[in-house]
Amino acid sequence: MGLESSLRDSVFTTRLDAFINWGRKNSLWPMPFGTACCAIEFMCVLGPKFDMGRFGAEAMRFSPRQSDMMIVSGRVSIKMMPVLQKIYRQMAEPKWVISMGACASTGGVFDTYSTIQGIDRFIPVDVYVPGCPPRPETVIDAVIKLQKKIESERSRDYR
């Protein structure tokens, strides 16, 4: 662009969406919704060996109002589902959900009267993580996939 060549390195131009999404994807604030063994596995994702902080998502917030990425790790029972929905509603837009592990995604082996057969039946899910429980690398891969998804979003889609 002509403007950039005349002003050299002092400015650069970009699209507003690209700029906003760049900020959003690199500072995700996770909200752990841990109900079972996946939550235990999730702890070491934040530890020094795997370190989700390398992807800008290390600042765990246990308040839904301060976070934008909910990680549902573990099975969700019929008693827990209203709580999950309430927490999801309390999160400010834009917000994303990672469904971690077989139980959160499909109910897993718990095909019983009290277990929700996949949280995506009742709340929107962005990334599913397979595994029982998933390896930490898989969770990090899910965060990277979510970052790619955020990159392609348009800010005018948010009301």
Partner: protein
């Protein structure tokens, strides 16, 4: 006290007590009459030679399609801290009137265990101080650990509002 001595001691107080010869884990089983359960457990706790002062567990069993005296049973696992011996007390409960007297007064530990047994099997405990559901939601209908309850439930897990994204795709 060995199982056979326990049996003799209990039979001296309750003549003709029904014993099950089953020796699972070396624990003898006393089959008590449903109507006498409070009396039996009070004796087991207070007798100095028996002194079963610790109710380790209390739970229900559904013998549907199994050979048993009645459909349900409530089982009390007792342990004596003083003597270090154990006893299993079983009371059969008919399907037509699933109820038994509460032992929460004798063993306070029975309070929640009886609530759980009521919640999951529908066995009522007469005289229980607070017989409410303890695990399932309050508005739950049915008793899910009964063998004739469908494993996948009767629709509870599908009855939630579906939240959709507020943003356009």
């Amino acid at each position: 006290m060995e199982s056979i001595e326990l049996q003799k001691r209990i039979e001296s107080r309750f003549p003709g007590s029904a014993w099950q010869p089953q020796e699972s884990s070396g624990v003898g089983t006393l089959v008590a009459e449903r109507s006498a359960i409070v009396e039996v457990l009070r004796f087991l706790r207070d007798d100095p030679d028996l002194a079963f002062d610790f109710l380790m567990d209390l739970f229900g069993v559904d013998y549907l399609e199994m050979e048993a005296t009645e459909r349900f049973a409530v089982i009390y696992q007792l342990y004596s801290m003083k003597h270090g011996h154990r006893l299993r007390v079983k009371a059969f409960i008919p399907e037509t009137s699933p109820a038994i007297d509460s032992v929460a007064e004798i063993y306070p530990a029975a309070n929640w265990a009886e609530r759980e047994t009521y919640d999951q099997y529908g066995i009522r405990f007469n005289g229980h101080p607070d017989l409410r559901r303890i695990l399932n939601p309050d508005d739950f209908t049915g008793h899910p650990l009964r063998k004739d309850f469908p494993v996948e439930g009767i629709g509870y897990r599908d009855q939630f509002e579906k939240i959709t994204r507020t943003r356009a795709q």
